[in-house]
Amino acid sequence: MSAAEEVVAEGHQAVEAVPKRAMTLGTGTSLVVLAALIIMPIFVKNFIIFQMTMLLIYGLAVLALNILTGGSGQFSLGQSAFYAVGAYTTAVLMEHFDVNYALTLPIAGIVCFGFGFLFGQPALRLSGVYLALATFALATAMPQLLKLNFLEHWTGGVQGLVVTKPDAPFGLKMSQDMWLYYFSLVVVIGIYILAVNLLRSRSGRAFMAIRDNEIAASAMGVDVALYKTLAFGVSAAITGIAGSLGAIAVQFVAPDSYTITLAISLFLGMVVGGVGWLPGSIVGAAFIIFVPNIAEGISKGLSGAVFGVLLFAVIYLVPHGARQVAILGQQLAGKLRKN
């Protein structure tokens, strides 16, 4: 039906050797990745820590899209709009109302959930590429909405808002960047666990049932309209929290930071990471953050073209993204063990 389903269905072909389509990493691998993420900042410079923080934040935003597309089978090219709403919620609350930065995160999440849930209502009538276009319109409209005159007092108009970077609490001897990294890490891991729980639960199965066959899902008692809009709400809420963290990390929000380019990047990150495979989100995020830099390193004048070639190579060689690489690695490890 929708292209998302095709992507997922094809994804399945590649994993036929594995009895059940794994959504997460094994416990061992997860702990290794976690340990690496915890230790890493101690050995690197502040700028790299900042980049790692952005990696976590984009990873979270890609994860949110993965829940929507990989989970419920709905497309979105409008994630930048939810990201912007989250970022502005935090910026406005911190700068105009002196709210603690940590408190702005759940508020941004709730605001974006409402926003996503409401947007999901009209989107119910659309699917596949048509839904992608509707969300595209949302992404295009958002920067202009943020520049509106009557909102300028709150949003700072075209100028945007400067956000104060928080210091490490409890007298911890830690740079602001390092504190923010660990703060983001805790938030991201917390949300990752909640997302895994959700997708493995009754609600998650309802999402995936809708993705695979709406009519059958409905015959089993799944309220298709409700779960589709819930998926939008959840995805928007998580994207909004990523936006909040992004605003704090970058210390600045401006309308033109949240254009359709961001939405497309997140979409790209999801595809590169593997649609429906949650750990792939961080790999996808790494791709959209670091590969443009690599491309620029190869050729300053033709960085866009080099990026295109690299992207093409990835899609051609591993069409199912990081998930496919992980499965290949797993199979290779299995063979080595046998020998």
Binding site: V8, A9, H12, E16, P19, K20, R21, L194, A195, N197, L198, S201, R202, S203, G204, R205, A206, M208, A209, R211, D212, N213, I215, A216, A217, S218, A219, M220, G221, V222, D223, V224, L230, V234
Partner: protein, 265 residues
């Protein structure tokens, strides 16, 4: 037959009352009525285009009848949206298998229990104690059904790679997971070989007897219907042609004419 049942004094579990469905100018169903009683296997037969599937889709609320009513235990189901049919005890399978291809057998069957359980996204994300308890009881139930239908070996296999016959059994398992009072089976024998049809007939009868269900069987395969149905309704051109025991319907001249054509033609 209807007279006999009235004499028994039991009210029907499901009553189809004068149901008509019109698509544009085409009358797909024209004033069809029949009753289903508890514990029956009712066979709905008819040549292609007779209106069997249309009637079936009215029961699962995919179509809205233009007139008439469908009563489940005396209450009309026509005001219910499709997703609120499972909760009143009507379960179904699909003609060409409509499973969730990327989910495991186990997860497919667990979705079948959706209408029997409740949860919300916050409790699910936090895996609260009551959600875990509910999942444990669902899993127990699912394992019981998988064992009943001999699907345990493939419990964790993704559905799309399974043979067609197994997929049909998974679909049946999914329908059973909601403990329906009425099981609607849309051409369950379609695509099965002779041997498999025989096994299927046995299985349907066992489900009726052991799990106390009432079965509506829409079927092309005459042999299957005639061997397991207690009561048969024959449709043709959207109208009820005959109703009665399999032997009565088989002997009905109108039914013979509809299937074989009359001598004058």
């Amino acid at each position: 037959m209807t007279q006999a049942q009235l004499a028994q004094g039991t009210s029907p579990l499901l009553a189809v009352r004068d149901v008509s469905v019109v698509f544009g100018g085409i009358v797909a169903l024209n004033g069809v009525s029949f009753d289903m009683h508890k514990g029956q296997i009712l066979g709905l037969i008819g040549p292609n285009g007779a209106g069997k599937t249309t009637l079936f889709n009215c029961l699962s609320r995919l179509y809205q009848p233009s007139s008439g009513d469908i009563l489940m235990e005396g209450a009309s189901i026509l005001s219910r949206p499709p997703h609120r049919i499972a909760e009143i005890g009507i379960g179904r399978t699909f003609q060409n298998v409509a499973l969730f291809p990327n989910l495991s057998v186990m997860d497919n069957v667990r979705v079948g229990a959706h209408s029997k359980t409740s949860s919300d996204i916050i409790s699910d994300s936090l895996r609260l104690a009551w959600v875990r308890r509910s999942e444990t009881s669902v899993n127990k139930k699912v394992h019981e059904i998988l064992a009943y239908l001999k699907l345990e070996d493939v419990a964790h296999t993704v559905v799309s790679g399974l043979p067609f016959g197994t997929q049909k059994r998974v679909e049946l398992a999914r329908a059973l997971a909601a403990d329906p009072k009425i099981l609607l089976l849309d051409e369950p024998a379609g695509g099965l070989n002779h041997e498999e049809v025989y096994v299927l007939g046995d299985l349907i009868r066992r489900i009726r007897d052991e799990r106390h269900m009432t079965v509506l069987l829409v079927e092309h395969h005459m042999g299957l219907v005639m061997s397991i149905a207690d009561h048969v309704v024959a449709l043709n051109f959207g109208k009820k042609l005959a109703e009665g025991t399999p032997a009565q319907v088989q002997a009905d001249p109108d039914v013979i004419k509809a299937y074989l054509g009359s001598k004058d033609q």
